[in-house]
């Protein structure tokens, strides 16, 4: 299966090329601001682990895709590399080249020292309209990095470099564009101008955060093609951030799938597409709309959306949405609330009122952790236990029940205990690493 256009100036296989960026155990935690009294008493109110132990290696000329939904931490990871998000831990070793002092750890740099390095790492954002100053014409905008980094004052040189960059990105004849303003250009043309500005300083690494998601389908292919051309001509290395595995397929050598701040699967692109191992990767692939009605149709989509990172699920973060989740994945009391709410979207108003009457406000379950108590409003009636039996009978295949270790019925309600959660870690399977209990020999015997 061809996954990307084969254009590379470096004939060496990827594994033998020099390392440009080595990210180890990168963490970005944001402290939560608690209530007034918490702050008065100096109590900590926890933190949001936007990026929680991310590691990957990027070699020269490689394209890595960080793929995940909103809230997966992919953009924060990219921003942290550029010093645009506060790094709480880990290391980011970057080979800045001989003239800038060789290999440096970006996390150890002071703002002043970082500034000189920024010319080697450039960023392209999702919204080309927001990344261009509406009051600056294209010539000024594209020449701006030269001014900021005080590269040269020579007007002729600046003009020549602007022309060269604009020609490279296909904004030609250049004279027609030099004095246009962003508002005069289409979305694709604006993104070309942004790319021209990004290559002005001769960067080594280009971080592209969803560079084509806001563009029309027919323009996406053009911009991706242009980025591959620039990579070949200028020897660039890309970190491509996206939620779309379809565009990543053409673009990336390596794919890292992120979920709630962690990498859940990482490996060579062709292997990820041919044999996705993590259920989340499979869901992302299944969700891509296929322009062929013969192949379209009902698919097994995960329910819900990315949970709140301030209060991540126990065990594997994906377990509440995972169609293949089982015992050790981290089932907890909250999942019972979700299960009941899910049930109530499919029943009649009367049945809902009646069942709600049995258990009262279901959010009361929210704080119970590994033990859930489903109260019986009318003590001793056994109605809560009967309701649970009903729920289970309606969908016996529901993964939730695999996480229940014991259920005891008492007069005040039902006490449900869950299995001890186990955090999945990245385990190596050939060239791919995956963090999922389904691929952990402790829980599942590998298929013969």
């Amino acid at each position: 299966m061809p996954t990307k256009l084969e254009i590379s100036d470096d004939a060496r296989p990827l594994g033998e090329r020099p390392v440009l960026l080595d990210v180890q155990d990168l963490r970005v935690h944001f402290a939560l601001r608690g209530g007034f009294f918490d702050r008065l008493l100096g109590r900590s109110s926890g933190s949001v682990k936007a990026v929680d132990g991310v590691s990957f290696v990027l070699r020269k000329g490689e394209v890595i895709g960080l793929v995940g939904e909103s809230g997966s931490g992919k953009t924060t990871t990219a921003r942290a590399l550029l010093g645009l998000a506060p790094i709480s831990g880990g290391s980011v070793r970057f080979d800045a080249g001989p003239e800038l002092g060789g290999e440096v750890d970006l996390t150890k740099l002071r703002e002043r020292e970082f500034r000189a390095l920024r010319r080697k790492i450039q960023l392209v954002f999702q919204d080309p309209h927001a990344s261009l100053n509406p009051a600056m014409d294209i010539e000024t905008a594209v020449a701006h990095p030269l001014k900021i980094h005080k590269v040269t004052n020579n007007r002729d040189e600046i003009a020549a470099r602007v022309r060269d960059a604009l020609e490279r990105v296909g904004l030609a004849p250049v004279d027609r564009y030099l004095h246009k303003y962003p508002a005069d250009l289409s979305g694709g043309q604006k993104q070309r101008a942004v790319l021209a500005r990004a290559i002005m300083l001769d960067p080594a690494l280009l971080v592209a955060d969803e560079p084509v998601s806001m563009l029309d389908m027919s323009v996406r292919a053009k911009i991706l093609g242009l980025m591959l051309e620039l990579k070949r001509d200028l020897g660039l290395t890309y970190l491509y951030v996206t939620h779309d595995l379809a565009t990543a397929k053409f673009f990336c050598d390596t794919i890292a799938i992120m979920y709630l701040g962690r990498i859940v699967e990482i490996g060579p692109a062709e292997q990820i597409y041919a044999d996705p191992k993590h259920p989340y990767t499979r869901s992302l692939l299944a969700a891509i709309p296929e322009p062929d009605p013969r192949r379209a149709g009902p698919r097994n989509l995960p329910r819900g959306e990315v949970p709140d990172a301030a209060w991540p699920p126990l065990g594997c973060s994906f377990h509440p949405r995972c169609p293949a989740a089982f015992g050790p994945c981290g089932w907890e009391a909250r999942d019972l609330t979700a299960l009941l709410e899910q049930r109530w979207t499919g029943v009649s108003e009367q049945q809902y009122e009646q069942e709600r009457g049995i258990v009262g406000e279901p959010t009361a379950l929210d704080d119970a952790g590994l033990v859930a108590r489903l109260p019986d409003v009318r003590a001793g009636s056994g109605a809560a236990a009967a309701l649970l039996d009903d729920v289970r009978a309606d969908d016996p295949e529901e993964p939730f029940w695999k996480g229940v270790s014991s259920m005891e019925t008492a007069s005040e309600g039902v006490r449900i205990a869950f299995n001890e959660p186990v955090d999945p870690t990245l385990l190596t399977h050939g060239q791919v690493k995956v963090a999922c209990h389904l691929h952990d020999p402790r829980f599942v015997q590998p298929e013969a």
């Binding site: 389908m217 709309p289 013969r294």
Partner: protein
């Protein structure tokens, strides 16, 4: 298909006035949508899709004018007085917007949004009735009744779009326009919303006009598809047929440039949609068309109909008797000025 269409558009034209002259954003468009049917409207940005969607509902900005005919349940909407139109919007015709985040009032509970909507159109409605109908609609969109009195910020982006769809449907409109309803959403949530739209006809019997630039979305959610280019619908037909054997070269090129998992090479249409102040002569796609013939820039293409009610506007499909001698010879294509590249 003998079912009477809910909405019948005939030769609709919409202009905007600009300094350089009128922009003919919609230029002679005709289509029908039947109850429970989803018609996908596709094309690149700047082809007039959104203008058409809003024009059908009479929601055009000042400085624009419309002409032609839009018949909805035996009433003519073009030229209808604002006041009369307003009573129909929402109640009988709805609109689902692109960005769910910006359309809900952050200070109002979800229940209050529904109460406001229902009271505006059915003044005497009781509180109990509001709750029953709203919760029922929300439930069909997969929003649990326990969340009925929450505020918008307590919901995720996908949930908010479901709430917007529920708000549009709670009045049971017969016709709904959805303008890029999933563009701001992630792939997984997009797929969830698409399956909801796909189920609309089963649950509500609503006729839906789904506007999108992504052909994959049309394949998932629509029975029929209309392809729009430079203000005109150039091909209409059943989604299965259009996707497997596109009749118009634009449809074919649009399909090839859609990036999906089965794509094996990056492909794109050179150039960009034309400036609608001065569109190209003849067939408006001819400067970008790989199959252009001598006749294409000279004579406007004629609509060709098949027995099944499908239509295409392209000289490749004739009618042969209208093509002048030598007209089918290939057109020497001018080098596209790369300045026109999008």
């Amino acid at each position: 298909m003998n079912i009477e269409p809910v909405i019948s558009v005939r030769d609709l034209r919409v202009w905007y006035g600009t300094e350089r002259g009128p922009v003919r954003a919609v230029d002679g468009v005709s289509f029908d949508v039947r109850p429970g049917e989803t018609l996908g409207l596709v094309g690149e940005s700047g082809c007039g899709k959104s203008t058409l969607g809003r024009g059908v509902l009479g929601l055009l900005p000042t400085g624009s004018a419309a002409d032609g005919s839009v018949r909805f349940k035996d009433r003519e909407l073009v030229g209808m007085r604002q006041q009369e139109m307003r009573t129909m919007l929402g109640a009988e015709m709805g609109l689902i917007f692109q960005e769910p985040m910006t359309r809900l009032n952050p200070l109002m509970r979800i229940s209050e949004h529904f109460a406001e909507t229902l009271r505006a159109h059915e003044p005497g409605i009781s509180g109990k009735e509001i709750d029953v109908r709203s919760i029922d609609t929300l439930r069909r969109m997969g929003i649990p009744p326990t969340r009925y009195r929450h505020y918008p910020h307590e919901f995720s982006g996908g949930m908010r779009q479901r709430i917007m769809i529920a708000l549009a449907l709670v009045l049971r409109p017969a016709f709904v326009v959805a303008d890029e309803p999933t563009t701001a959403l992630d792939v997984l949530v997009e797929a969830q919303i698409l399956s909801i739209l796909h189920d609309l006809k089963r649950n509500f019997d609503t006729a839906l006009l789904l506007i999108t630039h992504n052909l994959g979305i049309v394949a998932e959610a629509c029975e029929r598809v209309a392809v729009m280019y430079a203000g005109r619908i150039v091909e209409v037909g059943g989604a299965r047929r259009v996707f497997s054997e596109p009749a118009h070269p634009y449809t074919r090129e649009l399909l090839r440039s859609t990036i999906s998992l089965s794509t094996t090479a990056l492909h794109y249409i050179p150039g960009a949609p034309p400036d609608l102040v001065e569109p190209p002569s003849g067939c408006r796609f001819h400067p970008r068309c790989p199959d252009a013939m001598q006749v294409c820039p000279r004579i406007d293409p004629v609509e060709v109909r098949t027995s099944t009610g499908e239509r295409v506007e392209c000289w490749l499909h004739g009618p042969a008797e209208l093509i002048p001698p030598g007209g089918t010879a290939p057109l020497q294509r001018q080098e596209l000025a790369s300045a026109d590249e999008a």
